[in-house]
């Protein structure tokens, strides 16, 4: 594990823990957010017959950096009647919530921030912080749009956590592990060992499992879309109704924190879906490193596969965002409570029955 490696190098457990905690931020989240914002702009632009950013750097590749510099320079506006303490804590809390989720995500077989047996449980728990942060932001802004947006966001995230958890539960039942590392390791080999294709059960059980795993995959993908407030579930920041929801009053770096958290969250949920269903960091067809006998190449390949899967799912999120209209609040709740939750419940029972066959 990476922690042991760094611990051996530095000799100080505290220092190595800090380094391990900071690695995903600087090696992954920040570069990912930079790329994802650029991607989002380019993807939406090309879907809409536009060019998108073209001026800063080649085809606008430096646009996001220019935007970050602009955001850093901006005045930090706090309105007179804002609740200053909550107003300042909220973006940090939201960011912490989505950042902490990265601790239990296995990027490769040797890098996982916190290799604990309750990995997926930890992720679900810490992302709950995001809800508190959003509600704080909405309340402290002293703005009706913000409060409405925050209330909608909280209602939405909480209702969609239930189908997510039910699907996760069915996988935990199937594999007997809550550790994302173990889960990924179990899906090793070829792509037909992925949980989406029934994991490593016998052929008969696999064939029975595949349709239900597919249903579970679709449900968890829809629910995670809602949890990160992406279209068609972007009701909390519906710009035609609520200007931009809970972060209407934020500017400068605090706004950037929300923005960063949103993109980090997008990847976090995609990574969880990938780790649960699409084999995590496992390659779908063996490793080049093993083939040519270069063992050190394997983790790099694994990291690449993980990024490809995660970014692929993020791209689907973007594709949906720029294609679909937005649901109304009551319709959103209907989708969760009347369709997703009952279906995932039945799905859970059926998967349970098949696995004890």
């Amino acid at each position: 594990m990476i922690y042991d490696v760094i611990n051996n190098l530095t000799g100080s457990p505290v220092l190595s823990a800090v380094i391990v905690a900071m690695l995903p931020l600087f090696l992954f989240i920040l570069p990912f957010a930079l790329v994802a914002v650029y991607l989002e702009r380019k993807v939406s632009a090309h879907m809409q017959d536009r060019l998108g950013p073209m001026r800063v750097g080649y085809h606008g590749v430096l646009q996001t950096i220019a935007d970050i510099i602009k955001l850093i320079q901006k005045e930090d506006i706090i309105a007179k009647d804002n609740d200053k303490l909550l107003f300042n804590i909220a973006p940090v809390l939201v960011f912490v919530g989505s950042y902490a989720a990265f601790a239990a995500i296995p990027f490769t077989s040797i890098f996982i921030g916190a290799q604990i047996d309750l990995g997926i449980f930890l992720i679900i728990a810490v992302t709950g912080l995001v809800v508190a942060g959003i509600l704080m932001a909405g309340w402290a802004s002293n703005n009706k749009y913000s409060l409405l947006g925050a209330m909608r966001a909280v209602a939405q995230i909480i209702s969609y956590e239930i189908p997510t958890i039910l699907v996760v539960l069915s996988l935990v039942m199937m594999t007997g592990s809550m550790n994302l590392y173990t889960l990924s390791e179990m899906q090793t080999g070829y792509f037909w060992n992925w949980n989406l294709f029934g994991g490593n059960y016998d052929i008969l059980q696999k064939l029975l499992l595949i349709p239900f795993m597919l249903i579970g995959f679709i449900i968890i993908y829809i629910s995670t879309l809602a949890e990160v407030n992406r279209t068609p579930f972007d009701i909390p920041e519906a710009e035609s109704e609520l200007v931009s929801g809970f972060h209407t009053e934020y500017s400068g770096m605090k706004f950037a924190m929300f923005f960063l958290a949103e993109y980090a969250n997008m990847f976090a949920v995609s990574a969880i879906v990938a780790a649960l269903f699409l084999g995590g960091y496992q390659s779908p067809f063996g490793y080049l490193g093993n083939l040519i006998g270069a063992e050190w190449l394997v983790p790099i390949e694994q990291f690449l596969w993980f990024t490809i899967k995660g970014v692929g799912l993020v791209l689907v999120q973007m594709w949906l965002r720029w294609t679909l209209p937005r649901l109304r609040v009551d319709q959103l709740m209907t989708v969760s409570w009347k369709y997703l939750i009952p279906i995932s419940f039945v799905n859970l029972i059926i998967i349970g029955l098949i696995t004890i066959l």
């Binding site: 809409q48 519906a238 679909l324 209209p325 937005r326 109304r328 609040v329």
Partner: protein, 384 residues
């Protein structure tokens, strides 16, 4: 949006509840201009909506009294700024009737072509912004891409993209550009598949239908009582179009249908019908333009333009089917070079009044859906 509490009201069960008044606009992204809606809510449900207008008031009608007849034309452009060509057509037809002049056939054909192109452009804005209201951003840009081509056609014809001053009393300011016919045919060829694309992307989208079908149903009798015209009336199932029912210009020479609401997605007269009637109307407008281009006569466009415009004393009401409904001009002449009075019957002004009827009993989120579906232009509402 701002809250203010009204007097407490006691409901049947004896629980004291409060009616809430919510102000939407004038600075709100979805009010399609500077409109303020005073929404009275009981919980989530709307009990009353009062539109407040006048934020774009520019005294058009008073201005017209101080202008000579041709000078009024640029002012008509600024009423419904999304359908300027059609505003000009309505006014010019009225003055021509007062003057009793015959217009060359080529001029009439070009007016029809321009009017129908303008109808498509106006509907494209309506449909695109409606998508944005519902949360679909991409169709908006697709619509504006196609509108851009129409604006280009207008630009090569008269030099302006939005406010044209193109249709003159007795004629036109310029003849067609040599490339105009070819470019228009190209546009029609490109645009037909784009309507299909719009339908697949937005009109038949499940989420879009869920948001708009059975929302804001306008019954036929209500529509007639309020005097609603145009696509909003036709969506309620009535085949009433001044191009057919009170023909002006050369519309009687063309073969086209008047689409009416059929309630394909929900009930007749709901928001989806109002949206879809506009989509169908664009197809019909394309038919008219194609036929007009095929039979476009030659001639001098300036031959009937009078040297001195001084209509005899009298009054006239001229009405045309503008993209939003019946646009009427009531012009009184006292025999001088200035009109004595120009009164405009604006279709958006009438359509806005049905907001209260349509929104009662709906949720707050539906206000935006309904407001977008009746397609108002604030410049026209505040014209007086």
């Amino acid at each position: 949006m701002s809250f203010e509490s009204k007097e407490n009201i006691e409901n049947k069960s004896g629980v004291r509840t409060e009616e809430m008044v919510l102000n939407m606009g004038p600075q709100h992204p979805s009010t399609h201009g500077v409109l303020r809606l005073e929404i009275t809510l009981e919980g989530e449900l709307i009990t009353k909506i009062t539109p407040h207008i006048g934020y774009l008031h520019r005294c058009f009608e008073k201005h017209a009294e101080a202008m000579t007849y041709p000078q009024v034309i640029p002012y008509t452009d600024r009423m419904d700024y999304l359908a300027s060509m059609y505003n000009e057509i309505g006014y010019v037809i009225g003055v021509e009737k007062l003057l009793k002049i015959e217009v060359p056939e080529r001029v009439e054909y070009i007016r029809v072509i321009m009017g129908e192109l303008q109808r498509i452009a106006s509907h494209l804005v309506a449909l695109g912004t409606y998508g944005v209201d519902i949360g679909a951003f991409t169709p908006f840009l697709y619509c504006f891409r196609d509108r851009e081509k129409i604006l280009h056609l207008f630009e090569i014809t008269c030099g302006a993209r939005l406010l044209y001053n193109y249709i003159w009393i007795g004629g036109l300011s310029h003849d067609l550009h040599p490339d105009f016919v070819r470019l228009t045919r190209e546009f029609i060829k490109d645009f037909k598949p784009n309507i299909k694309e719009l339908n697949n992307l937005l009109s038949y989208n499940k989420i879009f239908i869920d948001r708009t079908a059975n929302v804001g149903i306008l019954p036929v009798d209500t529509a007639i009582n309020y005097g609603v015209t145009g696509p909003n009336l036709r969506a309620s199932g009535i085949n009433w179009d001044l191009r057919k029912d009170d023909p002006y210009s050369v519309y009687h020479k063309f073969d086209y249908e008047i689409p009416v609401g059929e309630g394909k997605a929900g009930t007749v007269g709901d928001s989806w019908d109002r949206y879809y009637v506009r989509v169908c109307e664009m197809e019909e407008s394309l038919k008219i333009i194609e036929q007009a281009l095929d039979t476009l006569p030659d001639g001098d466009i300036a031959s009937a333009i009078p040297k001195r415009i001084k209509p005899p004393a009298g009054m006239i009401y001229s009405r045309v089917e503008n993209p939003r409904g019946e646009l009427g001009y009531f012009i009184i002449s006292d025999g001088t070079i200035n009109p004595f009075r120009v009164k405009v019957r604006a279709p958006s002004f009438v359509s806005l009044q049905i907001m209260d009827e349509l929104c009662r009993g709906h949720l707050v989120a539906d206000v935006i859906t309904i407001l977008g579906s009746i397609d108002i232009v604030l410049g026209e509402i505040d014209r007086e």
